[in-house]
Assembly symmetry: C2
Homo-oligomer: 192 residues x 2
Amino acid sequence: MTARLTVLSGPSGVGKSTVVQGLRAARPDVWLSVSATTRRPRPGETHGVNYFFVDHAEFARMVEHGELLEYAEFAGNFYGTPRRPVIERLEAGVAVLLEIELQGARQVRASMPEALLVFLAPPSWDELVRRLVGRGTEPAEVIARRLETAKVELAAESEFDATVVNASVEGAVASLLDLMGLHAPGDPAAGS
Amino acid sequence: MTARLTVLSGPSGVGKSTVVQGLRAARPDVWLSVSATTRRPRPGETHGVNYFFVDHAEFARMVEHGELLEYAEFAGNFYGTPRRPVIERLEAGVAVLLEIELQGARQVRASMPEALLVFLAPPSWDELVRRLVGRGTEPAEVIARRLETAKVELAAESEFDATVVNASVEGAVASLLDLMGLHAPGDPAAGS
């Protein structure tokens, strides 16, 4: 049976990648899509694991041939989701999770309307502010701009199919697995 | 009769706004959509003419209520197209033209599949390079990055319904009017 694509998105600073790491630990059988990017690898990053590192000519070729499910530019670098690996796994019945930024999620809505779009929300505005302000080492203007951006990003929740509140990583992972129709290991219903 | 929305997009530096100005001069009856933005007005810009200048709270409200046909963030500012004015004019049979960046165009494809997406292309790669390099007063790294980005932006042509080559403004305006099913003034077919 063809599986359903799940997209996890949400505002900057909400903790998307921490929740994805938690889900990966709980259910290693869920396949996490690997993005292609034109940015240079950072120390410790591995090609094919963290990203597919490609040059702009190769990225342009993928765009031209419609090989990306979604793509976007951030600060001069391009990021995109190769379509074929996702489709192949879904067709093989493997659950696929895609963690992307909000604008990418809106593109997936267009290119794959049957995908489940999940919005990861902070437990409260104050908690998001706490995370975005961080250690308070940045200029007040930078922080103010980030909070203004967060306001708009939070409003995008209405474009999503479901919301998971990230009050605790365990709770968010459990809710996400639930939405995906999967069970956490140790869950009494896991064998059913 | 309901009119069709035309979207003009293309790589940075290709001359989109010059072509739009030319079209506005030739056919003042074509309605140009006015974007909402969170960025501050520049000297000479008028609210409601160049942009609708709104704060982040108001922009967030529009996002939340699905009032934008497309929106995107660039360098910390949000830009979006209010949906209702576009729909109202189209329903009144008025031709509407929307000049937006590539990622906005891809969103319109999703939210209004019947729109005509026109890609404005440079006459040649060398000509685009000439425009992007400009007066050569910027650091070589900035220029190099801009050219890399342009490569990917050019590849997006394949996502569009039609291409207009911007060899001359007059020629591009004529081709665009033609695609829109309109005539330029002085055109022998204009009275038909």
